[in-house]
Amino acid sequence: MSKPIAKALGELKRALIEINALTWILDTLVVFLVFELIFFLLTLPWYYAFVPAGIYVLFHAYRGRKNLTYHYVEEKVPELKEQLITAADNLDKEYEIVESLNKDVLKNMKKTMTSYFFSFGKLTRELLLLFVVSFLIIGASAYNVRFLDTHEAIEEIKNYKAFQDYDVNEVLLEYEEGDPTADDIYGEKSIAELGNEQLMLELNPILSDADISKTKEPEHRKFRSTVPTEIAASTDASYEESIPKGYQKIVKSYFREITK
């Protein structure tokens, strides 16, 4: 590792690890605080937030591996495209052309800034989120804001009788045993078929036919007349409004005669 290019590559690797570690810490902190807030509002112990944060750390470690490779650097710095990896793979060669390539790579690496590997937009958003979530946690603890007492809710669910007592098999058995007309000792066949999600519909044509053995004499029933014995009529104001004044009297006398 005495060559300048080897030293530079070593430094680049260290810088990548540092940058990756910083983003990793920041991301994990955001995940931890968000879950901390959620768990606080749900009245759960704060240290439960370590679990999602831990899962995120593992996920980040897996996903972040590619950010530690020279491929990642080449992606971010197009001037080094295909050169950096070639130089890194040929460190043991001492040909003139390899040395010349190493010089070019070193020159381009000097132009490379750490800022190439930072997403300032993401960094700003994360810092802002950290700030907001921290204030929300402080505010929620100060005013004791709780959305749900999880322990209580769990207890309620546990003690909920309707769920505990209800057993669908038992209900079905009761129904079956309660039918004294059932011929089959295994129970009602139709229920078993329903259990198999099959429904057989049988149309009995006899039910729609007239049974002459059950004929009887017609019943004499008295029906009440729906026609009223008296008919009354009254005039409507609207008629008076639309009829000219000179004829109103004639019309009124006409209607009076009809009612008689």
């Binding site: 070639t86 060669k93 003139e96 390899v98 010349s100 390539l101």
Partner: protein, 311 residues
């Protein structure tokens, strides 16, 4: 010559070549690749596409000795390698003297190689491989750089002796010469159908420079991933049984990496890129694979099949 100067030198070569040859840029580039890798190439194209002119012009530009062998069925191996002739000395003594054949040149154009008999083809290919000629008990080394460019016509296969696969494998590249574009053809007509002007070509590369560049070509660094990619392409030719009957040998892997290095150097780069490998895969592999009936049925040629192997 410095590495930084190589790109300029190749640009000048291309510029001078374009004074004589219109279009065919890719063909000329591949010929230079063949020269840089110190390998031989087979040029396939219809008659009248400036194959011979290209090679002749190339030798002029590089200050190299050029010879041409027109292959015919009655051509004998000794017509290529040379033979012993009786020479009379001043004292009246007669001695056998070796008369070198046309193979003793730096650039040899073996025109219509498939017209020569297998015996003559073998003599030529042996000289190409060993870079020496053995006659009786004497062995004669061929001068470096030594570059054979064989041509063959894709049509008129009657009365020809197609090169066996084992022998065509010895050519690093199979360069296809396409027809020129319409504009280029008009330019060709303008250039050669009127008064023929003598074009003065300046030699750009000396023999020593070329040997130096051949040495540098092998030193061009390549990333391990790309090396694996090149080998993967070649090994895939042996695995792709749905289209390829016989795949390429490991010699193709060496050839592909070398050709990619030469291409990178020509482009003035000090490293091999993926584009170099993809570009050189066609001339390196097209004569090393034998397609099966399924590929023929799908109307696919070698280039179309190679394309399916590239990422």
């Amino acid at each position: 010559m410095k590495i930084e100067e190589t790109k300029r030198a190749f640009e000048r070569i291309m510029h001078e070549l374009n004074k004589v040859i219109v279009g065919q840029e890719e063909v000329l580039k591949q010929m230079i690749v063949s020269l840089l890798t110190n390998s031989h190439s087979i040029l396939e194209g219809y008659p009248g596409l400036a194959k011979t002119l290209s090679v002749k012009t190339m030798s002029d530009l590089m200050d190299l000795k050029f010879s041409r062998i027109q292959n015919t069925p009655d051509l004998m191996p000794s017509d290529i390698t040379g033979t012993y002739i009786i020479e009379e000395t001043g004292s009246g003594k007669r001695n056998f003297k070796f008369q070198p054949g046309p193979i003793f040149a730096n650039i040899v154009l073996a025109d219509e190689i498939n017209r020569a008999t297998p015996k003559t083809q073998s003599a030529l290919l042996e000289a190409m491989q060993e870079r020496q000629v053995t006659l009786g008990t004497s062995t004669y080394k061929l001068e470096e750089p030594f570059f054979v460019l064989a041509t063959q016509n894709p049509i008129e296969q009657e009365g020809t002796y197609p090169l066996p696969e084992a022998q065509s494998d010895r050519f690093l590249l199979k360069i296809k010469t396409p027809y020129p574009e319409f504009k280029e053809e008009v330019e060709i007509v303008n250039k050669y159908a009127e008064e023929v002007k003598k074009i003065n070509l300046k030699p750009i590369l000396k023999k020593d420079n070329l040997v130096y560049l051949q040495g540098i070509t092998r030193q061009v660094p390549i990333a391990n991933d790309l090396k694996k990619y090149a080998v993967q392409i070649v090994t895939n030719t042996r695995k792709k049984k749905d289209l390829i009957e016989y795949g390429a040998s490991p010699r193709a892997s060496i050839g592909l990496v070398l050709a990619a290095k030469a291409r990178a150097l020509m482009e003035g780069r000090k490293y091999v890129s993926k584009t170099d490998i993809n570009t050189m895969a066609y001339p390196v592999l097209r004569h090393r694979i034998i397609l099966n009936f399924e590929a023929e049925r799908q109307n696919m040629d070698e280039d179309a099949v190679i394309k399916t192997l590239l990422k």
